[in-house]
Symmetry: C2
Subunit: 194 residues, 2 copies
């Protein structure tokens, strides 16, 4: 039987992404789980950021950001980054993260995160307090030891071991095991029907 | 060392969400991993749907959809639903899923998915072939046996066992184990610094 919880912001699994804003010399980080890919050609993702956040100001000013996927063992750092404002603290220093230069934009990526996406803001849409900010992905960085070849398909998700966030429930989880390749198991059903 | 993969649509973990469109009498389903929460008050999520899809037509016509999170053991059904068009097939019948009436909209939810979000389209933004469609969540349904109390925080994510999709890598994964509550482990860092 279904229970009704009212209109809630419940969605999982989602990343606990670290969004870097600002410049290489003065970068800031926020934890953002309101993130989703929205388009493929070109690849564009959207993040939902509240207009009261310091990072909102920085994104508005520089029109760029990086999205960084942290590994599960950085959950304390991720949690801390979501607790304090970059107006008051240098969060890179606080958690001991290292900014690395991006290839196409001024805003750095985070060395300690195995997957990093450089984004240029291409659009935005004000919703209520939050604004959906659309970033075109200009470059994708991955730790060399997390990939067995040169193709994106060669990424070993088990080695990336991304931190998972369960919104509303308020919990961090790890990833489990590989179940299947995609575009294969559905063929069994398709072949049985057609 | 970082490797560069070029501009790629790599983001994980993300849900392999099942989006239902159309009416209770004639519903359709598509598999959509381009999904993200964007706002809290009111809760609004965005999905990226290609304008060539049959579901795009249906969303345009009815201005509503439901987002349904499938459990890991339905990965074959999820994969199949991403393979064929609702123009040609009744995918509810093909995979043996049951539509359930929504509380606020015409489009049904999927009985076999433990989490279901009823959405009314409140905005959209054309990107390239894909359009980001914003849905305000009007009601949240959850299987009663996946929740220990009446609060959203009582959801047992292990019992939900949501299917995880790794875009670009093209793999389905399961969820692992609970690492921590949020807004707690960061306090240790905060208290050490301030």
């Amino acid at each position: 039987m279904k229970k009704q919880l009212g209109p809630k912001d419940i969605l999982f699994p989602i990343p606990a992404a670290l969004i870097v804003t600002g410049t290489f010399e003065k970068p800031n980080i926020i934890t953002v789980s309101w993130i989703g890919m929205m388009s493929i050609s070109p690849p564009i993702l959207a993040i939902g950021v509240h207009e009261s956040r310091y990072s909102f100001e920085l994104i508005k000013k520089y029109k760029e950001f990086t999205a960084n996927i942290p590994p599960v063992d950085k959950y304390k750092e991720v949690d801390y980054i979501g607790m304090v404002s970059g107006r008051d603290r240098n969060k890179f220093e606080d958690v001991g993260f290292s900014p690395l230069k991006s290839s196409n934009i001024t805003t750095p990526i985070i060395a300690e995160c195995p997957l990093n996406l450089e984004c240029k803001v291409v659009n935005s849409l004000r919703l209520s307090g939050h604004t959906a900010i659309f970033g075109e992905i200009l470059e994708t960085h991955i730790d060399g030891d997390k990939i067995s070849g040169g193709s994106p398909c060669d990424i070993d998700l088990g080695k990336i071991n991304p931190l998972i966030y369960a919104a509303t429930v308020g919990q961090y989880w790890s990833i489990g095991k590989k179940i299947s390749e995609s575009f294969k198991p559905g063929l069994q059903i398709k072949e049985g029907l057609l």
